[in-house]
């Protein structure tokens, strides 16, 4: 066990995967010599050569499109989109191509690749460095979507994603890179290096895709969260004193509905929280599923605490970000008899 930041854990995942399988290659904008603007690929080019880790032109379409061709050839590309906000130029390749290749060729061609991208706000990145586009992937059949909330999960899930025979979108909440940010932007964040979840096995290991984790057990209300919001939820429970259960979804698609349903059947109350805009966000799917599968257990409607239905603003970031105050209000409302 070594203490790692989430950045180091992600780099370690790629390092281990590249060492284990020479078919694994890494590329993207600034990921080569420089090691990525967030340093997630630091050291890989030096260790594995520029044949297996290299810089690309600034063309997200090119990065994803080339990766699809490589995956069809038999390699296992693990590529970086510098910010999730910049995946749109590649969206056609992701949706129309990577997600459907196995299907439309009846398994003749497949697309084992991982698309890593930093997501979410909290760094004063404004509307083009803060987005959480997960719902744009979960709506697409053929893609898997993963969002880790800590270094250990990030590493185990990323190696599992690289091993996976299908395309996996791997969303990295950038506000968590250095520590478990809980929405209190004026307080210092405990660095991962001093946090239990920063203890990560140095070697090769996987955590299964498609399984949620009960981050904190409780009986009063179920909070469905992923990424940064797991820590916001934790802080909110401490502050409100509510005995809630936090489920860290980890994989959004395919979703671990059983774990969710079990929890809501126990608590009878459910709040969903995410940073993305409300309308048609992933929280809509969660609310729809929970009311469908746990209808007779629900004491209260499922509430959603999310980013507003606006672009992500720069200066007013903390009025936009769904922090402990807003989540707390929703929890209290949901706890009313």
């Amino acid at each position: 066990m070594v203490q790692m930041t989430m950045i180091e854990a992600i780099a370690s995942a790629m390092d281990n995967a590249m060492a284990a399988d020479e078919k694994v290659i890494v590329f993207g904008e600034d990921v080569g010599f420089f090691g990525g603007v967030f340093r997630c690929t630091a050291g890989l080019q030096k260790k594995y050569g520029s044949n297996r880790c290299f810089d690309t032109p600034i063309s997200e379409l090119g990065i994803v499109g080339a990766a699809i061709g490589m995956a069809a050839y038999g390699l296992k590309p693990c590529i970086e989109i510098q910010f999730a906000d910049y995946m749109y130029p590649a969206y056609d390749q992701l949706v129309s191509e990577s997600a459907r290749l196995r299907y439309r060729s009846a398994g003749q061609f497949t697309c084992p690749m991982v698309v890593r991208m930093p997501t979410g706000g909290g760094i004063f990145g404004g509307q083009t460095h803060s987005q959480s586009p997960e719902a744009l992937f979960t709506h697409v059949a053929g893609l898997k979507t993963v969002v880790p909330s800590n270094p250990r999960d990030a590493k185990g899930l990323l190696i599992a994603a690289i091993e996976d025979p299908d395309p996996v979108i791997f969303l990295e909440p950038k506000r968590l890179y250095n520590g478990p940010f809980d929405g209190h932007h004026t307080r210092a964040v405990t660095p991962w290096k001093k946090h239990a979840l920063g203890e990560v096995d140095d070697g090769y290991f996987t955590l299964p895709l498609g399984r949620a984790k009960i981050h904190k057990e409780g009986s009063a209300v179920t909070i469905l969260a992923y990424g940064t919001m797991v820590h916001v939820a934790e802080a909110t429970l401490v502050e409100t004193g509510i005995e809630g259960e936090i489920i860290d979804l980890r994989t959004l698609s395919p979703l671990d509905l059983d774990t969710i349903a079990q929890s809501v059947e126990k608590t009878g109350r459910c709040v969903v929280v995410h940073e993305a805009t409300l309308t048609c966000g992933f929280g809509a799917e969660l609310a729809a599923l929970v009311q469908e599968h746990c209808f007779y257990h629900l004491e209260k409607p499922v509430m959603r605490v999310t980013g507003w239905d606006t672009p992500y603003p720069h200066a007013q970031e903390w009025d936009y970000f769904p922090g402990p105050k807003r989540l707390g209000r929703a929890l209290i409302e949901t706890m009313e008899v």
Partner: protein, 413 residues
């Protein structure tokens, strides 16, 4: 900024084809370079030394059916006869499938009429293991590689024998073992994938190369640019083919071409050797393909090839070209018919005859009819022998996740 404003008023330029229905097309002012007039450079030539090859047309077969110049002489009579048979087979296949669509046996069809030489000849320039990333108008690659006609028909009919399990529209074949990548309905997307595949081969120190395909119209797409950028940057072992058949559904090539001169010239800004070839000349297509393939195989990087041809039929069975171009345009088209030109060449050489041609036509029709009978015994789209609905849920992922199992159950399959 100054506020000097004594300027004339601007006008938008909208490209228009020379002729519309009712007009009489006249191609007499189109310059067609003489067969044999373009020299064949060595494959390791510098791109900048052959810029003129993007503004001419490389041709081998002359008016009298002779093969002339540097680019000829690569194929023996047997190979040429095989090539002729491939083109005839494709044409006959197209005619039958077009008819089958009209009879309601399938939903849609797209033919190659006039463009047969391109995919049939190109296919012969590749090695086993190389990979094409085709559009919907390169079925000649399959035919020239002896992919079973019955399988092609089963795909077209979406029947129980369909290798793609009814999932894809007709003609969107996929045949990995024949170097034929799964066709996408989205134009141009496969162009950059071909570059990626070629890069993967180079990364793996393999010897295989890739070939990308796109139409004149689809060169305007994003993926075309990404492919040129990546191919140029990484010197990917790929042949970048542009089939310029003059039309993109109802839109003439000038709308995509703009002021460019030629589609081949688009390669120049990327330092990619770019050649323009008579797409209706089997020998010229083969020779240029071979040249480009050799370059790629020798690790010399990408080549862009524009095939000048003409889409003699409708865009698809949903299209009627009489609505937007003169009916006679196709006959007036100055590069002739690829089947006829190769046939005449072989006859001129004494390797073929009208009789053998007729006989071959009959044989081919027979082969196709037999295959069609076999394919139809496995069903057609309007019948009840279509692939089972459980195929809807399979191959979305390698392993079916719980929510799809639930949905499959709801679907009752």
């Amino acid at each position: 900024m100054s506020d000097n404003c004594e300027n004339k008023h601007l006008e938008l330029h909208i490209p228009e084809p020379e002729w519309r229905p009712g007009d009489t097309p006249d191609f007499s002012n189109v310059v067609i370079p003489k067969a044999g007039s373009v020299l064949r450079p060595p494959v390791d030539v510098d791109a900048q030394d052959i810029r003129d090859l993007a503004y001419t047309i490389i041709r081998v077969l002359d008016k009298n059916g002779n093969a002339v110049g540097d680019w000829g002489g690569l194929l023996g009579d047997e190979e040429l006869i095989a090539g002729l048979r491939h083109m005839m087979t494709l044409r006959s296949y197209d005619a039958r499938m077009q008819l089958a669509q009209r009879q309601g046996k399938t939903s849609f069809y797209m033919q190659h009429l006039g463009e047969e030489a391109i995919s049939c000849a190109f296919g012969k320039a590749l090695n086993k293991g190389d990979m094409n990333f085709p559009t919907y108008r390169q079925a000649g690659l399959l035919i020239a590689d002896d992919y079973p006609l019955v399988d092609m028909m089963c795909q077209t009919f979406s029947n129980t024998g369909d290798p793609l399990k009814g999932r894809q529209m007709p003609v969107f074949y996929s045949a990995r073992d024949h170097g034929f990548f799964s066709i996408s309905g989205n134009l141009a997307t496969q162009y950059i994938q071909a570059v990626g595949w070629a890069m993967a081969s180079a990364i793996s120190h393999d010897t295989k190369i890739a070939a990308a395909w796109v139409g004149d119209g689809a060169t305007a797409e994003n993926d075309f640019h990404a492919a040129l950028v990546f191919a140029s940057t990484y010197r990917a072992p790929v042949v970048l083919n542009v089939v310029n058949n003059q039309w993109a559904i109802s839109t003439f090539q000038g709308v995509a071409l703009g002021e460019s001169g030629t589609f081949a010239a688009r390669g120049h800004g990327f330092g990619i050797p770019s050649l323009r070839v008579d797409g209706n000349d089997y020998l010229a297509v083969y020779a240029v393909a071979k040249w480009a393939v050799e370059r790629a195989r020798a690790n010399l990087g990408p080549t862009l090839v524009e095939y000048v041809t003409y889409r003699a039929g409708g865009h698809s069975t949903s299209d009627d070209p009489a609505a937007y171009r003169p009916k006679s345009e196709s006959e007036q088209w100055p590069l002739g018919d690829p089947v006829l030109r190769l046939k005449n060449h072989l006859i001129t050489k004494g390797a073929w005859s009208e009789e053998r041609h007729e006989q071959a036509e009959a044989e081919i029709l027979e082969i196709i009819m037999t295959a069609q009978k076999q394919a139809e015994s496995l069903g057609t789209l309007n019948g009840d022998k279509i692939p089972s609905a459980h195929n809807i849920f399979e191959d979305v992922y390698a392993r079916m996740p719980a929510h799809l199992r639930r949905q499959r159950q709801q679907c009752g399959v």
